[in-house]
C-alpha cells in the first residue's frame, strides 16, 4: 500500500519527536516534514502538499487555527488533524469552523493517533472521546465510531 505523507507541526520538539516515534512504528506513514511554527507550517505545507497535516493549535502566531483556515483554501485535498491540550468545546467548534477533519487531545495521542489518521484516510472525521459524541457529530459529521 502506498504510504500516506504526513507533515508534523508543533512548536514543541518533544511532541514532534513523540508523534514521529508513533508513526514510524508503522510503515504506512511517511513523515515528509516537520514544522516548529505557523509560518514554517504554511511554507512546508504549500511546498509539500501532504496527505495529512497534524497541526498543533497553540503556536506562536499564526496559530494552528489561522494556519488551518489559510490552508483550507490553498490545499483542499490535505486533511487536517488538530492536536491540542485544549479540551474546551469552544476550541472544538473553532477547529470545525476552520475546516479541520479531526480533533485529537494530546492526552489521547499515544493511544488514538493511528485511529484518528485511519479515519481521515477513510474520508471520515475524528474527535477525541472526551467530547460529547452528539456535539462532535454535529460539528464534524461522522466523528464517532
Amino acid at each position: 500500500m502506498a504510504s500516506i505523507r504526513v507533515l508534523l507541526s508543533d512548536d514543541h520538539s518533544f511532541v514532534r519527536r513523540g508523534l514521529r516515534t508513533i508513526l514510524e512504528a508503522t510503515e504506512h506513514y511517511e513523515i515528509c516534514g516537520e514544522a516548529g511554527d505557523g509560518i514554517q507550517t504554511l511554507e512546508l505545507a504549500t511546498q509539500l502538499a501532504p496527505d495529512i497535516l497534524i497541526l498543533d493549535i497553540s503556536m506562536p502566531p499564526p496559530n494552528g487555527l489561522q494556519v488551518a483556515s489559510q490552508l483550507r483554501q490553498l490545499l483542499p485535498k490535505t486533511k487536517i488533524l488538530m492536536i491540542t491540550m485544549h479540551d474546551s468545546e469552544e476550541m472544538l467548534r473553532a477547529a470545525a469552523a476552520v475546516g479541520a477533519s479531526g480533533y485529537l487531545l494530546k492526552s489521547d495521542a499515544e493511544e488514538l493517533l493511528l485511529v484518528a489518521l485511519q479515519r481521515l484516510e477513510e474520508d471520515r472525521c475524528f474527535v477525541s472521546p472526551a467530547f460529547d459524541p452528539s456535539l462532535a457529530e454535529r460539528l464534524f459529521g461522522q466523528a464517532t465510531p
Binding site: D11, H12, F14, V15, R17, G18, M85
Partner: protein, 216 residues
C-alpha cells in the same frame, strides 16, 4: 562508569515518549522511570533515586512546582529540571524558588534540553539565556508577587490540598488521595479558606487559577 539515571514526569504520553527518545539517544543516559503526575513523580523519585528528574509544571493531583519542593526535600541528591510551556517572568521566579536547578521551555530546542541534563548531571545549574533574562527582569517585583504571598501563607500540605480542591475533589476524596482522615482534610480546607480569605469553593478555584496552582 554507571549510566546516568533520568526520571521523566509529564502527564502527556506523547511528550514522555519524545523525551525518552531524546534522552536515550545520548550515550550513557538511561530513562529509569516515567511518572504521569506530580505525586507519581515524588513516589518514583523516592523508589528509583534518579540522578536527574525532568518534570513538567502542569500536572494533575500535584503540580510540578510542589512536586519539586517535595523531591528536593526527600531526595536532595536528585537534580530537578523543569520543562514547561509557561513562558513568563513570574513562572521563571517560581521555578527558581521551588529548588529546581534547571528550567527549559518546551519550545526551546532539543540541544537546550540535552545541555540542561548534562549540566545538572554535574550538579551545575542550567537556564537558557531567555529564562535568565526573564528572571532578572522579574527580580524587582518579587515583593508583591501574589503567588509568593500565597506560599508564605500556606504550608506545603495546604498547597497540595488547595490544588486537589481546585481540581474538583471533595474533602473525602482529598483524604483518600493523601491517606489522611476526612476530619483532618476538612480542617485543612477550613484553614486554607481562612488564610486566603475566601468563602466558597468557587472563590477557591478562582484563586488557584489566578495563582497558577491549576490550569484554567
Amino acid at each position: 562508569m554507571s549510566a546516568l539515571k533520568v526520571l521523566i514526569a509529564d502527564d502527556h504520553d506523547v511528550v514522555r515518549k519524545g523525551l525518552k527518545m531524546l534522552i536515550e539517544e545520548h550515550p550513557g543516559w538511561q530513562v529509569c522511570g516515567e511518572a504521569r503526575s506530580g505525586r507519581d513523580a515524588v513516589d518514583k523519585c523516592a523508589q528509583l533515586n534518579p540522578d536527574v528528574i525532568v518534570i513538567d509544571i502542569s500536572m494533575p493531583d500535584l503540580n510540578g512546582l510542589e512536586a519539586t519542593r517535595q523531591i528536593r526535600k526527600a531526595c536532595p541528591r536528585t537534580e530537578v529540571l523543569v520543562i514547561t510551556h509557561h513562558d513568563s517572568d513570574e513562572m521563571a521566579a517560581e521555578v527558581m524558588d521551588s529548588g529546581a536547578r534547571g528550567y527549559v521551555l518546551k519550545s526551546d530546542s532539543d540541544t537546550d534540553l540535552i545541555r540542561a541534563v548534562e549540566a545538572l548531571s554535574h550538579h551545575k545549574p542550567f537556564f537558557t539565556s531567555r529564562v535568565t533574562e526573564m528572571f532578572l527582569a522579574n527580580r524587582g517585583s518579587r515583593v508583591t508577587d501574589p503567588s509568593e504571598m500565597m506560599r508564605n501563607r500556606l504550608t506545603m500540605r495546604e498547597r497540595e490540598i488547595l490544588q486537589l480542591l481546585a481540581e474538583g475533589k471533595t474533602a473525602k476524596e482529598v483524604a483518600t488521595v493523601l491517606g489522611i482522615a476526612v476530619k483532618t482534610s476538612d480542617t485543612h480546607r477550613t484553614n486554607i479558606m481562612r488564610k486566603l480569605d475566601v468563602h466558597s469553593v468557587a472563590e477557591l478555584v478562582r484563586y488557584a487559577i489566578r495563582n497558577k496552582v491549576v490550569e484554567p
